[in-house]
């Protein structure tokens, strides 16, 4: 272990750790809770800056060989994750002025950063757990409704099952290949042995469960609805990014052949179709976003049908576009004294007349999530299906695109409510807050950058 390598290569992680410690110390000793938000934002932004700096300087290193290594794409993945966390922190101000929220977020981010650098199943597992455990608490934090406890427990149990399945799969991979290195997953995929096949299926199911792919999606709508808006945003965006980064690390650049390709196409396809159809019936934006994110997880796993370095690129680009637009919607959503009323679609009726900027921003986010050009969501979708076709899976690509068509209606309905329906009698939304609007404008700037100069992002991953 080389001390300088550890301190440089893990700079983002160190900054996050320093942030967690300072926040905890602040919580114990200070009577000025208002300092927590700037402190958390400062540390996360510094960590993002460090990761981006490592990426731009092309730093390559392995402080813990075989467990943790760093390449520019991994650095940029961390920079993306941390940058996406900044708006979440900013618009959490209304819901969490102080308290445990920030250290939990930073711990979870630490886990995601670990995932981006993981080289073995052990580090990966550490990363996944470190990412997930704070989120169980986030769902409960604030405890606004009785269902929150139920949802958190559901999430805990199912997520625990996923972890168990992942560990079982990892140990079977160790059994069949004699190594815990992530490359052994590709070996197991290519192996005709039942043991290896079982291992692969168990690992993939774990990812499906964590990313809420049909039929493992039942926890997501409940958990998303029960949590407060910033926690939902964190789950819908950051945790999903983390799971997909983990999956991308495991799959590497190996080609996915049949019959695994069938599994990787059919369940995500089912997610796209079911997520998009079930979203139509939802009455609240959070539940709707939950189903929408089930569909988006479907598109993301489609990317694994493509191979080579293009796969990581497609996944990361899609996550960037998806993340930024989802956060835009959440950040722009005006706050409400009653949390349960905040995102009811009926309360969004006529939002354009009371909060024009918020309505415009949410509208853009919806169109982007629906994959309508020229918004970034379209470019991400385009990239994924381009890779899938290039890998020779034309039929799956066409089916996936047609599945994505099913999603257009419910996104349009949000726009219809905001712009075309007379105002709800008393929606009760508070006026937009400066800091939340700032967060949403930050997301808007990011999404414009992604849409206008996609090449800038593509070259990084």
């Amino acid at each position: 272990m080389n001390f300088t390598a550890v301190s440089i290569a893990m700079a983002p992680e160190h900054l996050l750790l320093a942030g967690i410690v300072s926040l905890l110390v602040l919580e114990i000793f200070s009577d000025k809770p208002d300092a927590a938000l700037p402190l958390a934002v400062a540390f996360v932004a510094a960590a993002a800056g460090a990761a981006a700096w490592l990426g731009f300087t092309g730093y390559v290193g392995a402080p813990f060989p075989g467990q943790f290594d760093l390449t520019p794409p991994a650095s940029f993945a961390k920079a993306l994750v941390l940058a996406l966390a900044v708006p979440v922190l900013l618009f959490s101000k209304d819901d969490f002025g102080r308290g445990e929220f920030y250290p939990l977020i930073l711990s979870s981010l630490y886990g995601i950063c670990l995932l981006a650098s993981a080289e073995s199943f052990l580090t990966l597992f550490l990363g996944i757990e470190l990412m997930s455990i704070p989120v169980y608490v986030l769902v409960l934090l604030g405890f606004r409704r009785p269902e929150s406890a139920e949802a958190a427990l559901k999430y805990l149990v199912l997520s625990g099952t996923a972890s168990a399945s992942f560990l079982m799969g990892a140990s079977l991979i160790y059994g069949s290949t004699g190594s815990l290195a992530l490359e052994s997953f590709a070996l197991a995929m290519g192996s005709p042995r039942l043991l290896a096949g079982t291992a692969v299926v168990m690992v993939v199911s774990a990812f499906f469960l964590k990313a809420a792919i049909v039929p493992f999606h039942g926890w997501a709508p409940d958990a998303y609805e029960a949590a407060s808006v910033p926690s939902t945003a964190f789950m819908a965006v950051l945790v999903k990014v983390g799971v997909l980064i983990a999956a991308a690390r495991v799959f590497g650049t190996a080609h996915v052949a049949e019959p695994l390709a069938g599994l990787l196409a059919i369940l995500p396809l089912a997610s796209i179709v079911w997520g998009n159809l079930a979203a139509i019936r939802q009455a609240g934006l959070r539940r709707m976003i939950a189903y929408s994110s089930i569909a988006h997880a479907g598109y993301l796993f489609f990317a694994f049908l493509g191979d080579g370095p293009g796969r990581f690129q497609a996944v990361m680009f899609y996550l960037a576009a998806y993340g930024v637009m989802n956060l835009l919607a959440f950040a722009a959503l005006p706050s409400h004294p009653v949390d349960a009323e905040r995102d009811k679609l009926d309360n969004l009726k006529g939002l354009f007349h009371t909060h024009p900027l918020a309505a415009l921003l949410i509208g853009m986010a919806m169109l982007s999530l629906a994959g309508i050009p020229p918004f970034p969501g379209f470019i991400g979708k385009f990239l994924i299906f381009k890779n899938v076709m290039a890998a020779g899976y034309t039929t799956y690509a066409v089916l996936g695109l047609v599945g994505s068509y099913l999603g257009i209606y419910f996104y349009l309905r949000v726009i219809q409510y905001m712009f075309m329906t007379p105002q709800a009698a008393a929606s009760g939304h508070a006026p937009s807050r400066g800091i939340a609007m700032g967060a949403s404008l930050l997301c808007l700037a990011g999404s414009i950058l992604i849409a206008v100069l996609p090449g800038l992002f593509l070259a990084r991953f």
Binding site: M389, A390, A397, L401, V402, Y409, Q416, M420, G455
Partner: protein, 521 residues
């Protein structure tokens, strides 16, 4: 100023205008209207410079701008003018100020958002016409949906939400299959030739196997046929037209529908020529079906807007017939017919809007004898009716006549037949039907016993008279002096004919019976 710069200015002026009115304070409706009109007029004048500078003797792109955009995917930002789009660009910028002025009195709520959306759709439509890269084209093509969705949905009639969602979902379905086809097309070009490009010029060189061509043509054609719309993909159009505010109808009929025919002409047919020639008889029959069925439906409507909506379906059937004929006259006629329909239908929708503002009903039965009460209105309406019917000296005549000539040339041509003779003959009956429904409509509307809801009503004001006079001037200009326009499109028409009529792959030459140029080499 170089032409390339002017074209960029023309394209981006609406975007600048949109940002400018977004910056204006709320409640300044008058300023918003004046600013929009001013920007639209400047845009039109600049496009006239482009039209004047357009050299009819130079093939290929003029006033082009080429910038690499996403090099890894072979996406380039290429815009430019050619014979395919020059008239449509001018048509779009010409209708811009008229649409704006036409909406002054009709749009009184959310004025800022309305003109912002008019600007946005103007930008997207121009972008679709001038884009010379498939990725760029697709972005603009889809971007058109959003402002139209809002224009119909916010300022439309009673069933506006049903109509606008139907419009969006119909067109988006076509687009999603087109997207799959675009990706497949570019990927197969790359995998067979190593050229990684979305540029139209490169895609024309793709030599796809016939089966792939057929699938891709089907995907592109579905998307374009929904937009045109061709029977049987037309059912969104009457709803959208009836519910849209006047400005929305004018944009829809004037420009948006031409996107479909332009797409066929620029992409659908030339990209997959062998499949196109095989499908030509089917496409010809569908075009004739659109002509006749659209006319029959127009005959029985009781809603004024619906009559004109169905007449659009019928008129665009001629455009398709001309394109399918692969005869030079037919192709030229199709292009003229696109512009002509853009002018005439826009005028008719504007006039329906004017009477609706006064009388608040679109029921034909509620009207009668307007000629006595509103003489100026009636004169304008009658002239537009005659132009729609295709009276010689109006633009409608030039277009329809050339298309029918082309259709018969194609039907009688020895060898490969793109248009069956029966289809050509049936298309002529469309002219008779067209005269029947339009003249009968005018007779019930303008003459007979006097019936005017909400009487007394005032005749046209100066603003309305000027809008219509300008429109009619263009209609007669294109009818009397089509030469100026047609010489600019001639090279493009020849190029289109050459691209579609000559076999791209040797096997297709045998299948479609055209001379084996490739195989002989």
């Amino acid at each position: 100023m170089a032409d390339g710069t002017i074209l960029s200015l023309v394209l981006y002026l609406p975007l600048a205008g949109m940002l400018a009115i977004a910056a204006l304070p709320a409640g300044r409706g008058g300023a918003v209207r004046a600013l929009t009109l001013a920007v639209m007029v400047v845009q039109f004048l600049l496009s006239l410079v482009l039209y004047a500078n357009f050299d009819p003797a130079v093939p290929g792109l003029q006033a082009a701008t080429r910038v690499p955009w996403i090099p890894a995917w072979g996406v380039n930002y290429i815009i430019g003018l050619d014979g395919y789009n020059i008239l449509l660009v001018v048509l779009t910028t010409f209708l811009g100020p008229l649409v704006t002025a036409g909406a002054f009195s009709a749009i009184t709520k959310e004025v800022k958002l309305f003109y912002a959306m008019v600007f946005l759709i103007q930008f997207a439509m121009l972008g679709t016409f001038v884009a010379q890269d498939l990725f760029l084209f697709y972005l603009f093509w889809e971007a058109m949906l959003i402002p139209m969705f809002l224009i119909i949905g916010i300022w439309g009639g009673e069933r506006r939400i049903y109509a606008t969602i139907k419009f969006f979902l119909y067109t988006a379905f076509g687009s999603i299959l087109m997207l799959a086809a675009v990706i497949y097309l570019v990927w197969s070009l790359w995998s067979t030739t190593g050229v990684n490009s979305f540029a139209f010029a490169d895609l024309y060189k793709a030599r796809l196997p016939l089966e792939a061509q057929q699938w891709l043509l089907a995907a592109f054609a579905l998307s374009f046929a929904i937009k045109v719309p061709m029977v049987p993909f037309h059912t969104w159009l009457p709803d959208a037209h009836v519910e849209a505010p006047t400005a929305g109808s004018v944009i829809l009929a004037g420009v948006l529908l031409k996107m479909g025919t332009y797409g066929f002409m620029k992409l659908g047919f030339p990209l997959f020529p062998d499949a196109t020639r095989m499908a030509a008889p089917l496409l010809a029959w569908l075009s004739v079906l659109s002509i006749v069925y659209g006319a029959c439906l127009a005959l029985v409507q009781t809603d004024i807007k619906k009559i004109i909506a169905y007449s659009s379906i019928s008129h665009l059937g001629y455009v398709m017939l001309g394109l399918v004929s692969l005869d030079l006259l037919g192709i030229q006629g199709a292009i003229v017919q696109m512009v002509s329909h853009g002018l005439v239908a826009a005028g008719l929708f504007l006039m329906v809007g004017m009477i609706y503002e006064r009388c608040h009903t679109r029921e034909l039965a509620a009207y009668g004898g307007l000629a006595k009460v509103l003489p100026v209105y009636s004169v304008f309406f009658l002239i537009l009716t005659l132009a729609s019917v295709g009276l010689p000296t109006t633009s409608g005549f030039t277009g329809e006549f050339l298309v029918l000539m082309g259709a018969f040339n194609a039907a009688w041509k020895p060898g490969a037949v793109t248009i069956p003779l029966g289809a050509a003959v049936l298309a002529v009956t469309g002219v008779v039907l067209g005269a029947l429904y339009m003249l009968w409509f005018a007779q019930r509307f303008l003459f007979g016993a006097e019936r005017v809801p909400h009487a007394p009503v005032a005749d046209l004001g100066l603003r309305e008279k000027s809008i219509l006079a300008i429109l009619l001037a263009a209609v007669f200009w294109l009818g009397l002096f089509p030469d100026s326009a047609m010489k600019r499109t001639e090279l493009a028409a020849r190029e289109y004919q050459e691209l579609v009529a000559s076999p791209r792959i040797p096997a297709a030459a045998r299948l479609t019976g055209t001379p084996q140029v490739e195989a002989a080499k």
